[in-house]
Amino acid sequence: MAEALNTDLLFRMIAHWFATKPSSYYGSTYGNPLEDMLQKPLSSPIADSFLAKMRQDIPVLDALPPGTINLYATPGGIDIMNIYIEVAGQTLSLQDLSEVSRGNY
């Protein structure tokens, strides 16, 4: 059996977090607050609070050395902002996260 803890698992956690809305789990606010981003100026520092919530919900991200997890945003047109998550050198766009399989736990 392969090592249980690897980068792929990290991506699966993030994908799972991203696919979950807050309060989907009974008694927990775990999940990504994507709706909070609506109606916010594209120039606002939304990435910080988004990342803070993710770190809080997925404790292992906080245990990693600082700088391992980064969130980047690039403008992609008048009303589009592309957000990328970078974990240990691997970058993934939020758009592609749905393709990360959650797997059998």
């Binding site: 059996m1 249980a4 803890l5 698992l9 699966r12 956690m13 799972h16 977090w17 979950t20 789990y25 009974y26 008694g27 927990s28 775990y30 919900d57 997925i58 404790p59 292992v60 245990a63 959650r102 736990y105």
Partner: protein, 461 residues
Amino acid sequence: MATTKNEFIQLAVNEIASYPALAKRYQIGDPLITQAIAAQAAMLADVANQIEVTTGETWLKARDVTVKADASVKGVLPFGTPCIAQITVKNTGASKISILAGRVLRDQSGRMWVVSTGADILAGATLTIMARQVQLRTVTHTVGQNMPFYTIELAAPDLGYIAELAVNGWQYTPEFCNVEPGAQIYHIRTDENQVLSIQFGVNNTAGLQPSVGQQIEISIYDTEGDISPTVGMAFYFEYNLATESVLMTLMQVTQAGAAPMDINTMREVCSYPGIYSENAVFLSNFDFLVRKKISPVTFLSIWNEAREEEVRGADMLNINKLFVAVNKANTVDATLQARITNIIKTADDSYRLKFVAVVEVVIPVKITLYVPSTYDAAAVKQSVMTLMLANYGRTSAWAQRGEAKILKKDLYDLFRANVPALTQKVADISIDSVGDDTALLPEHFRYVTAESLDVVTVGAA
């Protein structure tokens, strides 16, 4: 104690060691594992909580829904009470006008009123009429099925509460007992969600089942309940003839409107024994009957000949007499007494009634508290005063009943359950005296006031 969420999580974690891969991921806090466990633990904890409450309900009606279900079984119906007002009408027109009973008025807030006693008023004259704050709504129901105990649920009004209802051509009966087969009767019931419904009988046993396709007309009077109008408020006709010119103002409220019983009153009312029906078979508990129908009261006490003669000696005039002492806020005594007379006579017309004036009695209570030095004695004293006034003050449920007594054991339990300082090992409570030498009469409206409470705190070692 109900098992908590954390305890359930711990139980799951104790098992997780059997799955090494999962155990590792649990240790780093992988949300794929932890969130699922936590959600299940939260649900189990809620179920555990509910089981805990249900276990206690054998002795105590803890949940609101249990109280409502109990009220439903005991026939406490969630009817509102309409405000009844006396209105001065001055005819400022040139010709005589007649206001008939049933005519609809509006007040200056746009509420609907229905005239219950009308008047013929000559030009320039001033007379009074009576009106009730109700609004008529008619529902026509087409019977869809021929079945025993056919039931029609009634929709609640958009605003306010249902005050009364009638079914065209059918008679109301409080129960199906003593009803002839074939009699056109209906029964009004409620469920634990306080939804009112009308129920018809069973063919060949009691009453009549309505046949399929039959149109049943139901008149419902809705009221807005407690509206507390001010004297001098203006009224207008909903529709008036061009020749009619009147000035209508509120002279007096003879009965204050009220919402249906709230859950606290219901809890109190339903603490009466369950076996009681609204007829003369069970010759007792008129207190329950009246309280159920004219809630909320400020004070109500009903007693019989035996109790009366215990306190005031025998008298021939007491034979077969019921004694009532009642006090209700914002309601004229005559109206209230007429209503109570009507309620009791409907249940049993063999009794004679006597209304006794309510006597307010303030009970002096002296309490000594031994408070540990680690607690703020003044704060403890204050919380004891607040508890006493909430539970035994003038507006408390306890004070509303006749012959209410303050039991020392209840006080000890009350303080120990609600004041943490008094549960400490060195703390002590002493109820030095409750009440004075005044004899307890059934018409005494007894309560505790801030002035009559004497709470002394002594430092405990």
